[in-house]
Amino acid sequence: MAGPAGIGLLRDEPTVVAVGAERLADAVVAQAAPVLRVDWRPPMPGTAADLATLAGDPLRAAANARAMAAVLGVQAMLVDVQPAAEVLGLAAGDFLHAGPPIGWDRASGPLRGALMGAAALEGLVDDPEEATALFAAGTGVSMEPCHHHSAVGPMAGVVSASMWLFVLENPATGRRAYCSLNEGLGKVLRYGAYAPEVLERLRWMSSVLGPLLRTAVRASGPVDVTGILTQMLQMGDEAHNRNRAGTLMLLRDLAPAMVESGLAGADIAAALRFIGGNDHFFLNLAMPACKLALDAARGIDGSTMVVAMARNGTDFGIQVAGTGNAWFTGPAQLADGLFLGGYGPEDANPDIGDSAITETAGLGGFSMATAPAIVRFVGGTVPDALGTTRRMGEITLAESSRWTIPVLEFQGAPTGIDVTKVCRTGILPQINTGMAGKVAGVGQVGAGLVNPPAEIFPAALTALASAVRGRG
């Protein structure tokens, strides 16, 4: 680039980027000079003044560069597996959930179902149905977002004291992030199911799977989850709705230590069968790895980067690096996708789960191009998948330096959603998601694609602009 003493565009043939009137770009073409035209459209209604304020914020560019460097600098290592009671200090009546804060009164069916199941799991009630009164009264129980405890949970995301958690750590800073163990597909607590077999599986996970994994992780040493994510993307996983390669690589890393754990052979076999039979097992490592990376960017004044997108089944919320712990929320949307069995759109609950943390970090829908099969959730095509990743490039700050996509010539995953770019282009983040039944206890009914509600981005933009003016 030309410094003050350089001559910049006087040096060579002009190569033009044109935004606005076509006539001016046409005139450049008519003079045999190359021009790349911007498909400019007016920004989201009412955002022009705030966008100008942020464009003029002297902190923004450097703050976003710092936020991006912080995110890309995190190495997420699986260092331990422990019960929530021990690592998060949860008592029997404490429950974490996905998404922004919410009370029982506004909680959706699947979130209620998961809370009811978890209450039974913790022995607060004998029958999950009895928990309704407990939560309605609110005595002896508490509900808080996972995100407020450095944790993330898929779908309902309910975490209670006896559940075991993956513990991920960034060795450079010691910062940690947590996530529960994945239960598999079908009738599972995270989709709001609480039938006896659901609770039975959870008890097995706490009594057999968790301790076995702890022994294995401690024996084999930290597992480089960020590194596995790098490899997964080369193998057709986008780490939200496809985690097949990641799950098998985790198994490869932990199986020897599991076998050598000295625990009963039947238990080890059951655990190996359980993990190997659940393509989504790795999701619960991908998510906290993304959480750990994004938490590194929290609280950077002036940064317009989204550090969390999360849904509780009622509200969709985002948090932004430059606005502290504020949530900007709007109604969670219904996913567009395909349904299991005889279920249809009328059975589906609005969007739920912390798993959109993967998209926030550049995976999932943002890396759709590396997992084209996912596009078929909405009857799409391979070009759609490539187009989605490229489109997400329009609203992100950078391309990941380590997560790359072979089919796009190893272009980096589009990373770091920029609130200003979303408002300028009107392009909403594309999220891959599972769909929970809207009635408590039903479980999964399908999977598909979903977007955040548009209005939360202008709301975040206004808060960012107010902060700039306040500094002014």
Binding site: D12, E13, V29, A30, A32, A33
Partner: protein
């Protein structure tokens, strides 16, 4: 009846002047995906797609590949008529070297020491050391030893000579004896394309990469990136031009 389409081009004032006058047939001299060279009346002009080396005798087109010339090519009326395509010059570009404050070439000489770049070493190896030494001293005899020698569409010896000529122009010390030698020998000794480029070099016209390098030297800079870009020109042309510029800016010769 084929529909004729118009294509805009940017070119130097000299190229534009070659296209003036009545329509007359031109001969296709050389043709590739990114460049098409035409000859008319002993001079050569080129149609250049985006990827082509931007030689000073070119009509620069904003296209990926040069169009089909077809059987009959004509130039005249300020343009060039190919099969189903009319190319017109709509923009004038500067292809001349900037003025240097004297012989400011030491920064370049440092960058061109042997062993630093294989392309430069290869170009040195292709040419007789005595000819290079002669050129550095401004001896017209060196012209005859270099013309047409070496590999490439423009022989390496011609590239060195072209670099030398434009460097002398930039330094404000054109060398009449060498220019005369080029003028009298060039037609017989080398290709028509290379001969035209050499004639244009005698008045200081060259590729943008040489202009950039000289601008950097004019600011007393060290042209590391500029030299990188120049060495990437053609297969051996960039190295030949760089060596020529270096020799042209070395002390010695009639002008010094």
């Amino acid at each position: 009846m084929p529909v004729r389409t118009a294509l805009a081009a940017a070119a130097s004032p000299w190229v534009t002047a070659q296209l003036a006058g009545p329509r007359r047939p031109a001969q296709v001299l050389a043709r590739g995906r990114s460049a098409l060279y035409l000859e008319v009346g002993g001079a050569c002009v080129g149609l250049l797609a985006r990827a082509a080396v931007r030689v000073p005798i070119g009509l620069r087109l904003d296209v990926g590949e040069v169009p089909e010339p077809g059987a009959h090519v004509e130039i005249g009326d300020g343009g060039c008529a190919l099969h189903e395509m009319d190319v017109r010059v709509v923009r004038s570009v500067d292809v001349t070297v900037p003025r240097l404050p004297g012989l400011a070439g030491s920064a370049l000489a440092q960058l061109l020491l042997p062993g630093r770049d294989a392309r430069v070493d290869f170009a040195y190896a292709e040419l007789p050391a005595t000819a290079l030494a002669g050129l550095a001293a401004g001896e017209p005899e060196a012209v005859r030893q270099l013309l047409g020698r070496g590999s490439g569409l423009t022989p390496t010896g011609d590239d060195v000579l072209a670099g030398w000529l434009v460097a002398r122009q930039a330094a404000g010390r054109p060398d009449a004896a060498v220019i005369d030698a080029v003028g009298s020998c060039v037609r017989a000794a080398t290709s028509s394309l290379s001969a035209t480029l050499l004639r244009r070099a005698t008045v200081g016209e060259t590729v943008p990469e040489v202009r950039d390098l000289l601008r950097c030297l004019a600011r007393h800079g060290v042209p590391v990136e500029e030299l990188d870009r120049l060495l990437a020109v053609g297969s051996s042309s960039g190295a030949g031009l760089a060596i020529g510029v270096r020799l042209g800016l070395a002390a010695g010769g009639a002008g010094s």
